[in-house]
Amino acid sequence: MLVLLSWLKDYVDIDVTPDVLEEKLFSCGFEVEEKYQVGKDISKVVVGEVKTCEDIPDTHLHLCTVDAGENGILQICCGADNVKAGGKYPLALVGATVYATAKDHKTVEGLMTIGAGKLRGYDSFGMLCSGVEIGVTGDMFEGGDYNGLLVLPNDAVPGEDVKPIVGLDDWIFDVSITANRPDCQSIFGIAREVAAVLKKPVKEPDLSYSETGVTKDFKVTVEAPDLCPRYSCHYVYDVEIKQSPLWMRRRLTLVGCSAISNMVDITNYVLKEIGQPMHAFDENYLEGNAINVRRAADGEKIVTLDEKEFTLNNNNLVICDGVKPVALAGIMGGLNSEILDTTTAVMFESAKFARENIRKSSSALGQVSDASARYAKGVDEYSCNMALKRALHLVEELGCGKVSSTHFDVNTGNSIEPSELKVLVSQVNGVLGITVPNEDILSILSYLNFQPVINGDELTIQIPAYRSDMESYQDVAEEVIRMYGYDKIVPTFMPTAQVTAGGYNLQQKTELKIKRDLCAAGAFEGVHYSFFSPSDLDMIKLPEDAPERKAIKLINPINIDLSLMRTTLAPQMIKAIANNQKKGILEGRVFEMGSKFIPKSLPLTEYPDERETICIGVWGNNEDFYSIKGLVDAVAKSLDISFDYDVTEKTFLHPYRTAKVLCDGVEIGYVGQLRYEIIDELDMRVNSYVAEIDLRLLTGYYGKSRKFTILPKFLEEKRDLCFVMKKSVTNAQIEKTIKETCDYITKVELFDVYEGIQLGLDKKSMAYSVVFTPRDEEFTAAFIDGEVEKNLSVLKEKYDVTLRA
């Protein structure tokens, strides 16, 4: 929120520098996001009094001698039509910074530094300036918009800084207000805080006015009290619409609000000053001498002040006259009752509307205004009342209308009187952990207008209506400490707390171990969003009825690409692989451990299943199916278990290079090579492989105790056996058979595969190294030979395997 220092000073004496004020605001909870002098860009511009002024023949220029006070008498060429001897103007000295303007002398095109120059052969030591050139508009200083020199008052002293004269020495603070303090969304609200932190009294705004006794036959009804807890309005007549005085226009301009006309400006001024949105209706256009606050009928229409038409529904609140809607409540007035130059009577509205309704209407209709933004933050009833009075005071002060005695205040059920809160001083100090002296507590709370009384341990405060955030001793503690100073907190380390055990639990430890083991196997951990795109499911070519398509939808996604909770981790992994390849990284290993979201019902009526899943992606010319399978096995190894593999099919994986992963017969995932069609679609350059494992199905294996196997007493025997078999026989079949045939065999390792013409087209050869582990006695050669023979005959019988010659 923009706060103008001079405006703030109406309500509190500020005798500290802007820097100190910023620090004070920061310390009590109001961060100043930006702070700048109004004339921050302008420097070395002083009052110049033109002593002599002669036309330069054949030009529009004038050659002037200008008194610049202590800067001497300077010769200056000036092209403005209103320069004349005896006049006082802003004078930019050599070295000054002012705004550069385009040829129209109005459009600012950045900053320029004034140098000594020559015009048409005449030396010029500076520049006499227009309002635009020093950043002063007609709403900031009389004559600021004139396309010529800015005329300074007669009492301006040559050589003095021009900034204080035209108000450029004022400061603007952009203050960030936390959501619990809507009462600070105004100049006066901030003034209260500044007063407290500087320990000064706050001055109340002048709310005085006198009613003429004239009344108007009028009726106000609130048909939707739930959406309009309070509605007050006052009739003003004999209105004369004209420009507001300069002081009001200046203040509005500097806090970012354009001046329009006195009545409209008063409503804006009050909004900025008191924080209460107001509206002024042209009373002559209110039919039926009535106002009715009600929900809009479905399909009802309104055109707002900015000439936009809206079709409304039952959720929108409207202000109606006796016949039709005349305002979108709390958002914007209707065009049909707009204040015009011809307006002669005004109905001022000051109301409280339910913040949630304004917020929803405003966002549903896409119509935002200062008022709606303010209502969305929360307006209290206290400011409703105060603002209307302030507006009527300003009507009188500006002399632009007569204040009637026709006043309405509907739904005054809620009190705007202070309410009492009793807490214990020991509770307050108990929250803080330090003992704040009672006199400090009393002083702090007094300056915050809480009228504190301490009686023994009991602290009683009166909560002003605008401080609805104050509810308990904790709130009091915060008020005390933010003014007392957080630097007075003394760090302690929970001396009263009990000892607890901490750290990762078994599941967390195990999952971290799996991650570390995958890293050790060359993979990098990645993290992807928990949501993905419906097109991701198409990308992996899932059929319409695939379970993965039953995904939870976001009601309000940022865009369609982030609109579904993921039901598989594969698509994002595939895209990450593609992105890496686009960036020229043609080899890599990545894994992600994260949740997929499986709804138990759609739409959601209970928590969905968040299933911890590992997804692995591998790509590169040196990688193949078996290298990603190695990573999957690394997961098994990490858990000290083993996985089995069997052929399967996946819509996005190679039909002959895809396996399902099994653990004790339960399918826990898949691994395979990405289909070439997808490789092409995503412009990938090298083959890529994906695996996905449902970790939830493995949690039963977490923390399985690891036992040491005592080393064999006798030497193990190793035999290398080279078989010939049909191509259709799998490694798994051979391995399993060998192991099953002899229980001394502890390891079967494939070490070579060969296919060649001499074996026959449908044959292959596979070589295994088989380890026999002895138990109680040494093996004899005959025993091993016997076991090998046994093995061979079983293999021959089952799969027609023969020993390679």
């Binding site: 909870g29 995958l518 060359g522 990098f524 990645g526 928990s530 940022i558």
Partner: protein
Amino acid sequence: MADLNELSEKLSGIRQEIKDELLKIENSKHAFEYRKSIMDSKTGKIGSLMREMGKVPNEMKAEYGKKVNEIRTWAQEQFDELETKLKEAEMNLRYESEKIDVTMPAKMQKRGNLHPNTMVRNQLVDIFGSMGFEIYEGKEIETDYYNFTALNIPQDHPARDMQDTFYLSPEFLLRTQTSSGQVHVMEEQEPPIKIISPGKVFRSDDDATHSPMFSQMEGLVVDKGITLCDLQGLLNAFVERIFGESTKTRFRPSYFPFTEPSVEVDVSCFQCKGCGCKLCKGTGWIEVLGAGVVNKKVLDGCGIDSNVYSGIAFGIGIDRIAMLKYGINNIKLLFESDLRVLDQIDD
């Protein structure tokens, strides 16, 4: 073998021959062969001399043996000496031929590393785990109640605007803060409670500095007599361990509905030590977390008696810490699995 003179002559002939021949030998293979031709007990010029002992008259036998032994010892010494010399030369040659460029790239075992967020998370768990904090991992999909209402953010509360929420149904949403886990823990456990709850959170924000998904870690202590002073003590201990010994904290008032008082916590800039630099935007301080004393309404709502127990809570942006610690300039880089990013940071 007529007499010993003849023998002496023969021996000095052999001696001379060996001397001459040894000068010509250039490699150990040749040396080995030559040695054999001299020393072999059957065929060698010296070796075979002993076989002729039988033919030597008895009275000469002693002298004969002595002379032959003499020359044999001498020859052996000659050969040994030569072989040592040759071996050394040959080794030198071999070494020389195996000369490499030691500045060529090393052969590395391929190894990946953990995500920066996981690394930070592990560090946080180390720190807080050692202080007795358990780790509670909440759900990413939460109900409106746990994410908002139970945290003192009722329906029409202004604080709902602070966090643009992704809704999945009127009741379910993507949690906007890990604080939602607080309530589950407080409902399930009796004090004393010390937990941290790291995890992914979601807000409808997507621009240069915001990602719609990011990571937070909530911390919560509920016990008897816990105060704002304890909060600062705890956080001081934490920042010193994660950002370095001399790091200090600064509290400034802020607002979170579930804590009262609420503070933003700044740490003294660990890069410039508070002198003012680009990282801290010249202020000497960096905002790293939000914290406060748990609002009694939250405690009461979870069935914890706020007259007996009090609590402190804090929320840390894990990505923010990762970015600060490692100097990562764009949060979105954390979620793209770009190996050029992941490969850089191993802590």
